[in-house]
């Protein structure tokens, strides 16, 4: 389980997150919000990339607030695939094994699930955007994380490719049965991938029932701004 407790963050003079709390079990929780609304900041705080000004992050029962990203056991897929361009696809996916994480069998299973078998010797630079996103997901999952964080992982892709990839991503993420936080501002993408939904509005988390409801909430926030 992932639990975020009263997390706050300011980038002077703006308060981006105001006592944000949420908990995610083995499900895909989609967080929606306006661009620049603090969604990525929240993920980076959970991953340990940025420190929070206040609040705590728990993974299972463990308080990981003071830990470095390498000690948290989190899988992170950023907005752009951020693949290691000097390494082959296979070396990217096996990367965490250098640090004693994951296993060859798990990685190979992910390679098969994400249809990457024919790409293993290639360098990421020659892959299409869709395959780069698959490699990015496989690389994060191959480290056997306890929690997955996906920050608009398909934002670089065309709508048609996105709609093909999303059910595949969902299948893989569900098969591994871990808490997943998936950030997007696209209600259609949210509807396709999410089990539950939250909206990040003016730095606060609001629980909602559907992607459309989140979208309406965000739209109202944008208009009132």
């Amino acid at each position: 389980m992932l639990k975020v407790e009263k997390v706050g963050k300011s980038f002077h003079p703006r308060r981006v997150l105001r006592e944000v709390s949420l908990s995610v079990d083995s499900e895909i929780r989609v967080i929606m919000g306006l661009n620049g609304g603090g969604k990525s900041t929240l993920l980076k705080i959970i991953a340990g990339i940025w420190p929070a000004d206040s609040g705590n992050v728990y993974i299972g029962e463990k308080n990981v607030t003071g830990l470095s990203p390498e000690d948290r056991g989190i899988g992170y897929v950023p907005q752009h695939p951020a693949l290691f361009r000097h390494l082959s696809v296979q070396e990217n996916i096996y990367y965490a094994m250098k640090n004693g994480r994951g296993a060859v069998e798990d990685s190979n299973r992910l390679i098969a699930m994400l249809d990457l078998k024919d790409m293993l010797d290639k360098k990421p630079g020659v892959l299409s955007g869709g395959f780069q996103s698959r490699v990015s997901l496989a690389r994060a999952l191959a480290s056997r994380p306890k929690v997955m964080l996906l920050d608009e992982p398909l934002s670089d892709l065309d709508l048609a490719i996105k709609e093909n990839l999303l059910p595949e991503f969902k299948k893989v993420l569900k098969a591994l049965g871990m808490p997943v936080l998936y950030v997007t501002h696209d209600p259609r993408e949210a509807g396709l991938v999410g089990d539950s939904f939250s909206a990040l509005v003016q730095g606060e988390i609001r629980g909602i029932h559907s992607a459309e409801e989140a979208f309406d909430l965000i739209k109202a926030d944008y208009v009132s701004d």
């Binding site: 470095s68 390498e70 989190i74 951020a82 290691f84 000097h86 640090n99 994480r101 630079g125």
Partner: protein, 277 residues
């Protein structure tokens, strides 16, 4: 008319005026560039004489100064690169620390400082009084002093080049590497440096070329001892002082050739890198 000749346009009055207006900056730039950069080089090259070349190439001290220049320049560039890699780490991971702030400030200092002053600071820091236990003159007036003087003036270039390479880099690769279990040091060596190949190479070549051209700091700290600490720049100076102008011209042309070779290497490597990416 100049615009017409330079930009190959049809020679009508209207076109001439239009070209002049459009290219006014280039029209002003071109004669100044030709006068102040190209003409002096030509003035040097036309003074090259066969006798002077034979005399220079038969001079052992000339070849020793070439050896000193290349060896000291390479070592200084290598040292600059090593330190620039260290600075790059501070630039990425320790930007709020005092050491980064001081290092960043000091990067500009050797550029602004007169190089005679740089040489004097090195002489006072590593000369007879402070490092007398290392030899009669401390580190001063040795080939190591030449290396250190060259390094002092070329390191900022390497550091700046590496840092600007990092500015162009996708920093999310570091975040991902960290979540995959890398410490900052591991992420730096496994992920950051391999993606900075071009910046590292450019930093090395720029530091090398800056080292080759250094005179004042080298002479102040390393001296100008023929065969021992004399480099190409100081060889040219000595030959002018001795009235051997034709030898100075030959050595200078050799320097120009060497510089062109370095610039061409850098440009070629960049093209290869751009083609690859």
């Amino acid at each position: 008319m100049l615009a017409g000749i330079l930009w190959n346009s049809p020679n009508t009055d209207g076109n001439r005026m239009n070209n002049f207006r459009k290219n006014i900056v280039a029209v002003l730039f071109t004669p100044l560039f030709l006068l102040l950069i190209v003409y002096p080089l030509i003035a040097l090259l036309v003074r090259l004489e066969w006798n002077g070349a034979v005399k220079t190439f038969a001079d052992t001290y000339f070849w020793l100064s070439v050896r000193n220049t290349l060896c000291a320049g390479l070592l200084a560039a290598l040292l600059s690169l090593v330190l620039a890699v260290g600075f790059g780490y501070c630039y990425l991971f320790l930007r709020h620390t005092l050491i980064y702030k001081v290092a960043n400030l000091m990067n500009d200092l050797p550029i602004a400082l007169p190089h005679t002053v740089a040489g004097l600071t090195l002489l006072l820091a590593f000369g007879r009084k402070t490092c007398g236990f290392l030899g009669e003159t401390g580190l001063a007036f040795t080939l190591l002093a030449v290396v250190l003087a060259m390094f002092f003036v070329s390191y900022p270039l390497a550091a700046r080049t590496v840092a600007s390479g990092m500015d162009k880099m996708e920093t999310e690769i570091i975040d991902v590497a960290r979540t995959l279990g890398d410490t900052p040091v591991k992420a730096y060596f496994r992920v950051v440096l391999p993606t900075l190949g071009e910046a590292l190479f450019s930093g090395f070549v720029l530091a090398f070329s800056r080292s080759l051209s250094e005179f004042a700091a080298v002479v102040m700290f390393g001296g100008n001892l023929p065969g021992s600490t004399q480099v190409l720049a100081s060889y040219v100076f000595t030959k002018v002082e001795e009235g051997e102008l034709e030898m100075a011209v030959t050595a200078s042309c050799f320097c120009v050739l060497l510089s062109l070779l370095i610039v061409a290497t850098l440009s070629l490597r960049r093209r290869v890198w751009n083609a690859k990416s």
